[in-house]
C-alpha cells in the first residue's frame, strides 16, 4: 500500500455517530416486491466487516443503499451520523466522495485508459494532475497493473479489470470502502493480496464492508460477518 500523507479534505471535523447505520430498512425496485426487509445494523467507524448470503439475497442492493445509488422504501439510513433522507441533494456528491466503491460489474469507462479510470475520483474532486500522477502510478503497480496503465479496459482480463476497479475505489483514501465481490475474478494469491490492501486501508481508519459469497475468503480474516438471506439479516450475525 503506497504511503500517503494527504489529509481527508471532505471530512467535516466534528461528526459523531457510526459510519453507517441502518434502522428497519426496506427496499424495493420500482413497484416490485420488497427485496430487503427490516434490515438494521451499524458499521462503527474503522470497523471491518463481511456481508455474505446466497446469490439474489440482496447484498448488492444493500450496498447500493450505502453508496447512495438507490433510496430505501422504508426505514432510516444515516451516514457519518447524518440521516441521508434529510440531506439535501447538493451535499450528496460530497458524501459520495467519502465512499469508495468496488462495483460487482466494475463500471470502468471503456474510452479511458486504466490510469484515467483510476484517477477519475481525484479528478472529479478537483485535484490537479501533478498532485496525483505519482500516487496513481504507485497504486497501479501495487495491484499489479503497472505495465497496463495505458491500456483500455476492454483489452484487460476480468481479474485485471477488477483490480483497476479496486484501485479506483481506494485511490481517494475513502472513509468508507464498499466492495461487492472484489475477488470474484482473481486467483487465490491475488485475492489474498487484495484483502491485505483492504486491511491496510482499514488500519489507516477506513471503514470496510466486503460483500462476498467466497466462504474461504471470509474465513481467512478474523472479522465479523453479516449474513443476508432472502432480504433479511440473520439474527445471530447482526452485531458488529
Amino acid at each position: 500500500m503506497p504511503a500517503r500523507d494527504d489529509t481527508r479534505r471532505d471530512a467535516p471535523r466534528f461528526e459523531t455517530g457510526p459510519a453507517v447505520r441502518f434502522e428497519s430498512v426496506g427496499m424495493r425496485y420500482g413497484r416490485g416486491p420488497e427485496i430487503l426487509r427490516d434490515v438494521s445494523f451499524e458499521l462503527p467507524r474503522g470497523s471491518f466487516q463481511f456481508l455474505t448470503g446466497p446469490s439474489g439475497a440482496g447484498k448488492s442492493s444493500l450496498l447500493k443503499l450505502i453508496y447512495l445509488a438507490e433510496r430505501p422504501s422504508r426505514g432510516l439510513i444515516s451516514l457519518f451520523g447524518r440521516d441521508t433522507a434529510l440531506t439535501d441533494a447538493k451535499s450528496l456528491p460530497a458524501i459520495r466522495r467519502r465512499i469508495g466503491v468496488v462495483f460487482q460489474e466494475f463500471k470502468l469507462l471503456n474510452h479511458l485508459t486504466v490510469f484515467e479510470n483510476v484517477a477519475l475520483p481525484l479528478r472529479v474532486a478537483g485535484q490537479p494532475r501533478r498532485a496525483y500522477a505519482e500516487d496513481v502510478a504507485e497504486l497501479l503497480a501495487w495491484v499489479g497493473l503497472g505495465e497496463r496503465m495505458d491500456a483500455y479496459p476492454p483489452t484487460l482480463s476480468g481479474g485485471e479489470q477488477q483490480r483497476a476497479s479496486i484501485a479506483r475505489a481506494v485511490v481517494g483514501q475513502p472513509e468508507i470502502l464498499i466492495a461487492d465481490e472484489p475477488t470474484g475474478n482473481v486467483d487465490p494469491a491475488m485475492a489474498r493480496r487484495l484483502l491485505r490492501l483492504f486491511a491496510e486501508l482499514n488500519k489507516l481508519g477506513t471503514t470496510v464492508l466486503i460483500a462476498s459469497h467466497d466462504v474461504g475468503l471470509v474465513r481467512s480474516m478474523d472479522a465479523p460477518v453479516m449474513e443476508l438471506a432472502d432480504g433479511r439479516l440473520a439474527a445471530g450475525a447482526r452485531a458488529a
Partner: protein, 297 residues
C-alpha cells in the same frame, strides 16, 4: 513516463457518428440565418437612406404655357417658395436639367428650343419642421402660371413600409432559424447523453456533482456550435461578398448593395458564430441538467 499522464483525457468519448450530421445541420442553419441578418441590415440601411433623402425634398414643376416666359416664371416660383418658413434652400434647375430627365423618353439632344419643357425646382426643406404641402401650393395661388408640387410623401411612405416589412420579416426568419438550431442541438445533446449514461453514471457514483457532468456536455456542444457557426458564417460572408460583386441585380435580391451594407454588417458573421456556440451550450446544458435531475431526483 507514460503518455497517458501527460494530458488529461476527454471524459466524454468522441461521438463522431452523431456529431457529423449535427455539425452540417447547424452550419446550414447559421448560413441561412446570416444571409437573413445581412439582408435585414441591407434593407434597413438602404431604406433609411432613401426615406431620408425623400423626406427632406420637395420638387416643384413649373409648367410651360404658350404665352409666358417660363424662365421668369421659374425664377418667380423659386423666390416665392424660398420665403416660406421651413424651406432651407431652393435650386431652380435650368432647362438642360429637365431635358436630361426627359432623355429616356424623348432621346438625347433632339428637342427643338420651343418644345414645352417643364422646369424643375428642387426645394430642400427642414425635415424637422417641413412646410405643409397646402402652404407650398398656397404661395402660387395668384401667380398666374401652373405648378405641380410633389412632396414625395406617398413614395417615401411606401418605401419605408416596404423596408420595414422586409426587415421585420428577415428578423423573424433569423429568430426562427435560431430557435430551430437550439431545438436541434438540445435534441442532439439529449441523444448524446442517452448514449453516454454509462459515463454520467460512473462520474455520478464517484461523487461528481451534476454541474460537473453538465459542463462536460456544455463544453462539447459549445465547441461544436462554435465550429459549425464559424463554417456557416464564413460561407455566408463569402456568399454575400459574391452577390455584392456580382452586381446590383443579384445583390438587390438579398438587399445587399455593397456600399450600403456598411461596416456594421462585418460584425454579423463572427457574432453569428459566437451566438451559435452559446445557443448550443445553453441548449445542451438545459437538456442535460433536466435529464440528470429526472434520473436522480
Amino acid at each position: 513516463m507514460s503518455k497517458a499522464r501527460s494530458r488529461p483525457a476527454d471524459l466524454l468519448p468522441p461521438d463522431a457518428g452523431r456529431d457529423g450530421p449535427l455539425f452540417a445541420v447547424s452550419a446550414i442553419l447559421v448560413f441561412l440565418a446570416c444571409l437573413c441578418a445581412l439582408g435585414a441590415v441591407g434593407a434597413w440601411t438602404a431604406a433609411s437612406g432613401w426615406t431620408a433623402q425623400l423626406s427632406d425634398q420637395i420638387t416643384i414643376q413649373v409648367l410651360s404655357e404658350d404665352d409666358r416666359d417660363i424662365a421668369a416664371d421659374a425664377a418667380d416660383a423659386g423666390e416665392r417658395v424660398a420665403r416660406l418658413p421651413g424651406v432651407e434652400s431652393v435650386e431652380v434647375r435650368p432647362r438642360e436639367a429637365s431635358e436630361r430627365l426627359l432623355e429616356p423618353w424623348l432621346g438625347r439632344g433632339g428637342l427643338p428650343d420651343d418644345f414645352p419643357v417643364p422646369r424643375v425646382i428642387a426645394v430642400r426643406i427642414d425635415p424637422a419642421a417641413p412646410p405643409l404641402t397646402a402652404a407650398v401650393e398656397g404661395v402660387f395661388e395668384e401667380a398666374g402660371y401652373t405648378v405641380l408640387v410633389d412632396d414625395h410623401q406617398r413614395w417615401a411612405g411606401a418605401v419605408a413600409q416596404a423596408a420595414a416589412t422586409v426587415r421585420y420579416f428577415a428578423l423573424a426568419l433569423v429568430a426562427l432559424l435560431g430557435l430551430a438550431a437550439a431545438a436541434v442541438v438540445a435534441f442532439a445533446a439529449r441523444a448524446s447523453l442517452a448514449a453516454r449514461w454509462d459515463v454520467a453514471d460512473a462520474l455520478h457514483l464517484v461523487g461528481a456533482p451534476d454541474g460537473f457532468i453538465t459542463s462536460l456536455f456544455q463544453r462539447r456542444f459549445f465547441l461544436l456550435g462554435l465550429k459549425a457557426g464559424l463554417t456557416g458564417a464564413f460561407a455566408a460572408a463569402l456568399a454575400a461578398a459574391g452577390l455584392a460583386f456580382a452586381g446590383g441585380a443579384a445583390g438587390a435580391l438579398f438587399f445587399l448593395p455593397s456600399l450600403e451594407l456598411g461596416w456594421g454588417a462585418a460584425f454579423i458573421p463572427p457574432a453569428a458564430a459566437i451566438l451559435s456556440g452559446l445557443v448550443a451550450a445553453i441548449a445542451a446544458r438545459s437538456a442535460v441538467s433536466a435529464a440528470l435531475a429526472r434520473r436522480w431526483s
